[in-house]
Amino acid sequence: MSRYTAITPADLDAMLAVIGVGSVQEIFDRQIPQAVRLGRELDLPHGLGEQDVYEHLRALAERNTSTEDELSFLGAGMYDHYVPALIDMLTERSEFLTPYTPYQPEISQGGLQVMFEYQTAISELTGLPVSNASAYEGPSALAAAGYLAKLHNGGGRFVASAGLHPHALQTLRTNAHGYGMDVVEVGLTGGITDPEEWAAAIDGDTSAAFFAQPNFYGAVEDAAALSAAAKGAAGDGAKPPVVVAQVDPISLGVLRSPGECGVDVAVGEGQPLGNRLDFGGPSFGLFAAREEYLRRMPGRIAGETVDVDGRRGFVLTLQTREQHIRREKATSNICTAQALNALAGVVYLAWLGRRGFVELGELLLARTHYARETLALLTGVEPLHDRPVIREFAVRLDVDVAAVKRRCASEGVNPGVDLHALSGREADRGGLLVAITERRTRADIDRLAAVLALAMAAERDSAATEAVTV
């Protein structure tokens, strides 16, 4: 018996007798050829007791600087929002935590109804009528939208704005290479997708056109104009590209919805909705579309129906799209959704509520604006663009970002994401991406400005000293 098993020696004897073998080894000997048996113990440590495992994992946790340990302005796709306590309580309930995918709907109505409610909420946020029950996470959801577009109109190329999150762009490229598509990148002007370059890049062979709203640099794009331009650019007689927007769901209380802006498919990282950071996952990806794409959607979808007694109920539906039925003709290989993370998402939206969701958006707008104005007053700090921002903004520092970040860290402040380190783009050198959540107060923002100013001054001094020494 080891941890979590329960077969006593007496059980074992009785069980072997029923099976009709002399030992467990015999069961293996009769099935696995000796040539592929390991024949030794795995080279791993011996098992530990619960208390020892806890202490080991706690010691590892203590070597990480979390958002509880410093004043963090990190964002770029995942954000340190406050997660209400009721989400912990609900996601830890056995009934939500421990089932598998709801293959038996009669005993899975709770989970299926959560999916149905989640789909309703995502449709409301995006202004698009159909949502799946969640995708893995943001960037792979964007790549999945590309595959939908390829199936839908069969064009040979994708056009993608450089304003997409770099991870989304890279994920799209990895996937597109697989099914033989080129990705053409469109640059930014003044912080947003260059409208002329965008229209020029899209042709009749373009399967999909992708942009982010707000974009990676925090700027609000003219989503309606980009959608309209993409549809007009395909040319007469050609199938227009599927317009895909990567959205930040938290912005959708104040921003015009993708549906209103003419977007066909909205995807995005769901983490800001009630999910913890978890060093990048698990979270969920949202995926919503216009009605005409319903039968090409990837992933699970819950639908309403009735039982034999006429009671309302829910099932996984449109399964003829899926891998277990259609196999090589499936619209996606996705089997696992992110049900527990999507539950956290819909509970979070219910907790914020209709008014609260908008108020939170307004709060972020006001504080983010204040933070940008405040930092812009510092010597050597210049906003990267003057576009409206929702919850995040980019500035350029006249000193080395990594060095400044190290100096700030010693003061307990993490001023944001080093843009160049994340994107690898030469143009992003000196760039700092600063994210604001409701957990960052005005006092926190003022402290960021003070610490950043001192760190930059110190860095300039030390650079000057070095120059003199040289």
Binding site: Y4, A14, V36, T67, D88, Q104, Q109, L340, L343, H369
Partner: protein, 496 residues
């Protein structure tokens, strides 16, 4: 039969509850100088009508979702022998450790030097998975098993392209999980099916005939979806390698062989792990999962970025500079929260415990199979192939359908009334009326006995009156649902 309280609940959604003006969230004050809204966000970008989200108090929200939770069956409530899904106990220690702020509230873009604990954990997990699989190079990035499969097929493609070859065929047995062929198509390659022999293994002659210079890869599950270890695995690997193709191991059934036999030693080049199966990440009612991959040296240069590395000074870092890499498969570094749980599990069990887990899983499956036979079930539900099994077995409901006029579906639905989650049904496809049973190692002998009794009871009940099973279930929150109507006219959101 009278209705239960849960059946009287009419499945009202949260959008149909509450009242205008109710709320749970109190928004913090902005504290910053007021600015003209037009300056913050011009009207043209602003939303005219706010999303119609629910309006409820916190107590109402809690009651609603706790109420919904009671309409779910779950692993903590009862036996869940869902074949191929490895529904073993989910230790709560893992939830506690994953929730520690140093793990749960760590931002993925924290500077690596201040995330050393997380990177060390990932490094240790990579090492453990390499040892368990016998394949030395690990990427933790894929989000689930199917995502790991996509990574594996893209790696295979990159490997061949790097050698200047374009190979477009991927061989999969007809017993394969549906994700295998679906993945192949998404990676731009073609599926070629390989037949199953009379013993339930790969038809080696068919494989030999189809293995040619256009074959990129063979995707295999071993033990396969019939619960059988393929005794010809060495020969299969030899045939595949002889034509220059790679061998992919679908790790869904790894729970049968941990510490006993390793995919790397069987000749596989690429394996994916389902951390939500063998390594007991709770599946959350359909995710999250996590699907790391381990690969041989020849495939390693193509692994997705980033990979956790250990520097000369002993510090850990994320390596993004891998020129031959297929690139990224998702944002950030993978499902770290799942890594914490899987790592805690590996630490708890250790080498001896992992082997014991697999041995006990195989013991339990064989005992349940034999016990069913002892109870006279085999006459109606014979084992589809073989005599013994690995960690799961597949029965055929064909004779039951003939003799008792009930289908596998009816049996499954009647099991719900007995308080059990049914096995996987109608998979694999080549077994008539298939019933795929995976008890896992964490169940007691008593539980296995009671499940065998329930099956026997349902069969004898059906011999008396098949209508009972055909009308089942009776005691669940809803009874059989009309899936055809749901698909014909899809209603996938609440009308508002």
């Amino acid at each position: 039969m009278s209705t239960t309280p849960l059946q009287r609940d009419r499945a009202t959604t949260i959008f149909q509850k509450g009242a205008p003006g109710r709320r749970a969230f109190v928004c913090p004050a902005p504290e910053v100088p007021e600015v003209d809204p037009e300056t913050l966000l011009p009207a043209g970008f602003r939303r005219a009508q706010e999303p119609r989200l629910p309006e409820l108090s916190e107590p109402e929200i809690v009651r609603h979702y706790v109420g919904l939770s009671k309409r779910n069956f779950d692993l903590d409530s009862g036996f869940y022998p869902l074949g191929s899904c490895t529904m073993k106990h989910n230790p709560r220690l893992h939830e506690r450790t994953a929730a520690l702020p140093g793990h749960a509230r760590l931002h993925p873009l924290q500077d690596p030097e201040r995330a050393q604990g997380a990177l060390e954990l990932m490094w240790n997990l990579q090492g453990a998975l390499a040892e368990i699989s016998g394949l030395p190079n690990v990427s933790l990035q894929p989000s689930a098993g199917s995502h790991g499969e996509l990574a594996g097929v893209l790696l295979t493609r990159a490997y061949h392209e790097d050698r200047g070859e374009t190979r477009h065929k991927v061989l999969t047995p007809d017993t394969a999980h549906g994700t295998n062929p679906a993945t192949v198509t998404m990676a731009g390659l073609d599926v070629i099916k390989v037949a199953t022999n009379q013993d339930g293994g790969v038809d080696v002659e068919d494989l030999r005939a189809k293995a040619d210079g256009d074959v990129a890869c063979l995707m295999l599950t071993n033990p396969n979806t019939l619960g059988l270890f393929d005794p010809n695995i060495a020969e299969i690997a030899e045939i595949v390698h002889a034509v220059g193709a790679t061998l992919y191991y679908d790790g869904a059934n790894l729970n049968a062989v941990m510490g006993l036999s390793r995919p790397g030693d069987m000749g596989f080049d690429i394996v994916h792990f389902n951390l939500h199966k063998s390594f007991t990440q709770p599946h959350g009612g359909g995710g999250p999962g996590s699907g790391p991959i381990a690969v041989s040296e020849r495939v390693a240069p193509f692994l997705p970025v980033p990979v956790v590395v250990r520097l000369k000074d002993g510090a850990f870092d994320l390596d993004h500079e891998r020129p031959k890499s297929i690139g990224r498969l998702r944002g950030f570094h993978g499902n770290y929260g799942c890594f914490v749980r899987a790592y805690a599990y590996i630490c708890s069990l250790g080498a001896d415990g992992l082997r014991d887990a697999s041995e006990t899983a195989v013991l339990n499956a064989n005992y349940l199979l034999a016990r069913l036979k002892q109870r006279g079930v085999a006459e109606y539900l014979p084992l589809a192939y073989g005599e013994l099994c690995m960690h799961e077995f597949v029965l055929s409901g064909g004779p039951m359908k003939q003799a008792l006029q009930i289908k596998t579906l009816d049996l499954a639905k009647r099991l719900l009334d007995f308080g059990f989650h049914p096995p996987t049904v109608y998979f694999p496809l080549l077994v008539e009326e298939a019933l795929m049973v995976e008890p896992t190692e964490t169940e007691t002998k008593e539980t296995l006995d009671s499940f065998a009794e329930a099956i026997a009871a349902i069969l004898s009940e059906a011999a008396e009156d098949p209508e009972i099973a055909r009308g089942a279930p009776y005691t669940t929150p809803v009874r059989r649902l009309d899936e055809v109507a749901a698909a014909k006219r899809p209603v996938i959101r609440q009308a508002l």
